[in-house]
Symmetry: D2
Subunit: 359 residues, 4 copies
């Protein structure tokens, strides 16, 4: 099941960096949802390298095709097959990757696991794999928006030490998209941009935090005890390339408070229960409580840097390796649509699960 995610709204992804492309089969989508390529392409464009000066300059067209599962612009309830063709593989001018393991990449571990690996472009370890997630996530986002009135957003919260000031309750999509960094705090965004540019020139990279938000989730979604909403979100986020951490609500910061300080008091208004603070991050006991869900994902600085580094080759001999050409000094702006996609996939799956048992 390694390449399948979700229980009722299930996606199965495939594809390597080079070869026939990357794709995803979406199984379990409700029927009669209006759906065309135009619903999906914009998020792919947000994920695409080369979209702005600060992200990887590789040009990928990333044009989505719907191969099955729709009829006359509506979903059939049958599997939706989505495909993004790879650009014609340029003859790999530089084949050092065939014989050397890139530090802190997955070259060595794939070789250790499978005894074989597709070294051009990193094969399946390439972040290109996330194309499939974003495509499937666009469908999930549409279901959440249309059928449940739920808005899913993500934005860059921190780049290295530069922290943005953002209110998860009020942040708007257009503010996120208003700058290249996808950070809705314009001042922080400017400083982040400067740092990223500096890293580009230094051939180095920086990491940071993407914050994800879901507003409008009704109380009752999430399944105790293993498939808690935050557990499934954590898995979704830690399955992303370069992600190293996840926390929800007060998160790691919450441990500085005592229980008295930390608890969220309940109140009710117009027949609806709410909490007067939201350190729970909208989830209690693994189940949504109707408040805004928010969480953070830590991304390490990406491993590709334009400097000579110690490593070993496939014969386990010591050597050095220096990446060349383009590199992506900060993956965070492109990670934003990916975090949104995974969030939406988790939520739609839980919406269906909740309806199945308790609907």
């Amino acid at each position: 099941m390694a390449n399948t995610f979700g229980h009722l709204f299930r996606i199965t992804t495939w594809g390597e960096s080079h070869g026939g492309g990357v794709g995803v089969v979406v199984d379990g989508c409700p029927p009669r949802l209006p759906l065309t390529e135009a619903d999906i392409q914009p998020d792919l464009d947000r994920r695409r390298p080369g979209q702005s000066p600060i992200v990887s300059q590789r040009k990928e067209s990333d044009t989505i095709q719907i191969l099955s599962g729709t009829f006359e612009g509506k979903t059939l309830g049958t599997p939706i097959s989505l495909w993004v063709k790879n650009a014609d593989a340029r003859s790999e001018a530089y084949t050092e990757m065939a014989t050397k393991f890139r530090p802190s990449h997955a070259d060595y571990t794939y070789q250790a696991k499978y005894g074989i690996r597709a070294w051009p472009g990193g094969g399946r370890t390439s972040a290109r794999e996330t194309v499939a997630r974003v495509a499937a996530g666009a469908i999930a986002k549409k279901i959440l928006r249309q059928r449940h009135g739920i808005e899913v957003l993500a934005y860059v919260k921190q780049v290295q030490r530069i922290l943005a000031n953002v209110d998860p309750e009020k942040v708007k999509a257009k503010d996120i998209e208003s700058n290249l960094v996808r950070c809705p705090d314009a001042l922080a965004a400017a400083r982040m941009l400067q740092l990223i540019e500096k890293m580009r020139h230094a051939g180095d990279s920086v990491g940071g935090i993407v914050e994800g938000v879901a507003r409008g989730v009704p109380p009752g979604w999430g399944e105790p005890v293993f498939d808690r909403l935050e557990a499934d979100l954590a898995k979704a986020m830690l399955s992303l390339p370069a992600s190293r951490g996840f926390d929800v609500g007060s998160g790691f910061g919450g441990i500085l408070l005592t229980g008295r300080q930390h608890n969220d008091p309940f109140r009710a208004k117009a027949g609806k229960v709410y909490t007067t603070s939201n350190r729970s991050g909208g989830i209690q006991g693994g189940i949504s409580n109707g408040q805004t869900i928010y969480f953070r994902v830590a991304f390490k600085p990406v491993a590709t840097v334009l400097h000579e580094q110690d490593t070993v080759d496939v014969d386990f001999k010591h050597t050095t390796l220096k990446a060349r050409g383009r590199h992506d000094p900060c993956v965070l702006p492109r990670a934003v649509p990916i975090v949104e996609a995974m969030t939406a996939l988790v939520l739609v799956d839980h919406a269906l699960r909740h309806r199945a048992q308790c609907g």
Copy 2:
């Protein structure tokens, strides 16, 4: 699937705080493993409330029974059913919980989801549910130890602001068990103990961080792309009551480094590849690389405090609630065996999955 965890080494747990007990069915255990209750009971005793002055004083006997799956002291390959009877339910002297939602507990969300809830002791939302996890985890730990030479450990790394100094490569089980806090840094442990005692007297609670470690995992375990080792660990940890965050290797701290600083150089010795630093936390691209796996889990301060708090009742009327009697000012020492159990369950599952495809 909400109450099932794992793909090939699968556990299905059941049970409420009150009633017939809690239990777990372990399916997929390899045959011919020596197994008796004596392999499981010690970890249950480490999890048990009332084991020391600093944890919850409820007396639970928590005696494990193996109801199926073994014959003449060995596993059969058939499902292992484990059962811990609940102590006779004392008539619930105080039934305020029946009509009021405890703040930052799951009372409200269960009610919202199911339209019914077992209020005595919190029903299935009770941390008593983790008995089942610890029992199943003890089997997983034994398999890892006996068949793979893998050691799984956890310890208290931080209580509120008090941070322990522990080397994941060298920490020993006996040092962890040498004090009530289960923190192998004796100095930090003493300060933690003081803080916890203070909280007990104040009727308040504190949270912190448990660090988990797995030493001896061979390269190649973990399944790209969704079932990465760190993704499954993240899910396992975020499925624990009161946990709010997870990070692996350099984690949230790693975002302060640049890519050049962060990468782990490869080296080889005696035909084995290793890294000269371990910011990856033993996992690269979702797959173990043979180095020590280590990660952190953030636990919020537990919600039960002996103070009057604002809340609403089941009719959504404003009211207050004050917990009485015993409380658990710090859940971390008891969380240690639970983190170990979940870690072992994830690893055994991946050991079997790796063998299935690549063995």
Copy 3:
């Protein structure tokens, strides 16, 4: 997953013939369903050996206990743990089974698979395992009856060459239960009874066919393409001990007709579509069409006969084996509640799946 059945209404069974008992965890049951042991016990009594002169004379009390998942007589939505204790294991006077493989039993294959087996009573290969299925099935039947108005029935259709004349559209539960054979055709039942008695005295056994019926299933249940309703029913039935065949609707007999003869014409009345014949057995393209679902399950004559038979021992030496004492000349009457249980489990699972995606 070998011991788990179902996707959304999931059962996980455990237990051997001897030892702590047999049990099942039912996960995914809708909340607020009235449920007590009294809903389950009657079907267990129908399955029990020793209930009549013509079935196995072993006395098993088979008393069901609900250990979790209900509160004040209603389901909680949490896992329901059901347990039937084994009678005290009589010291196994005769231990020939420890060293010899019974012909056409699973002794040899379990040994070949696991390298170990619980020989007393056949361990997990014992038909006692079906206790768990019947218990879970009783819950499924109740959901179908109460929430969907669906009636699930089964009856003995054929014993060896004696074929009953039964109309699946009209057969009633009380007619099925009116005789020991559970065959609603009284004349055929009398002849079957005679044959079974003859087999008992001869120390031999006979097989036959149980027919299963579900009336009132609405159109639209069943999932193309792999989880068709008939595919899941086939799996359910072929997972029963001693079952060797399954067919639905016109089944194996339907191959004698041509397409023109076989097709079921559609008609409509009062805004409802129906078919004027029902050779499809209520399922078209894997999905229910609103007509009565009916199918047959072939059970071989049970392997335990009171005669000396050629076999080998655990050292692969030629030997003979003669079963002693009680035997069950015809398993069919006791298979009736088991077929009903599995049918109900399949249908409830599909009810939930249908609601999840299309509800």
Copy 4:
């Protein structure tokens, strides 16, 4: 999971009769297996309509493309995406299917389930969907052959009343392929051919039985209690379009014997256990016993006949419908490679499962 089959060797299929094509993602394939399109195409050609005068005359090129999962002619261990493009959709000259439900097809049930359906060519209900199964099955067959020395075969055993005489132990692939009917009994094949031709001219159709065989399966594959080998085979076969029944070993015929007659005596030779008869069909207690596995699948006469038939339209009004043009008077010859494919998929999945737990 409706469009996913298998646990460890998992296939997920997609595609409608018209549109972008049909395809399958194969997840869990062992790495380093030599694999190119040439391994798959021959079985697709055997399944293809128009391959001979007696099967459907629609011309489909059915050219397989491997889009991912291989590198330099070997499997990577990552998902293998297989795609067969649909021929350019001829403008549907005749659109009666848009408004009328074909009797004994799935038009009505899909409409009832989803409230929408792709009527051109039947959409996902089309037998064209089996292209994906055959493609995936070709990989499974190769694994079984190369890694386990297992041969999987199927052949036409019966067409209406014409029964072939075939020995499952000895039948050869070349004899099966020696005639258009794929029946290795030449005499029976000639009579079957005559009957099928007669049906073609009459615009009618006939059904029959395909027998499947697996030789060389070692003892120990299959998982009690629900995922028995015969249960998974039954599900696989009943998931095929037009299939209505399944039996294994002595099957429905076995009920005419008594237990004494039916049991298979064990014997041993050269350290290997075998049975002197094989009424068990190579499976005992759900687990292979090392003997040849054989089973039968009943296929009803296909529903498309060139005669006017009573039906209703989408407004539930009475009407008639007459299919035009080409039709397939007997689906059995083309079902042969599909039965082989599904058999191989079940066996490979169980091979991996067995290795995971007991390897």
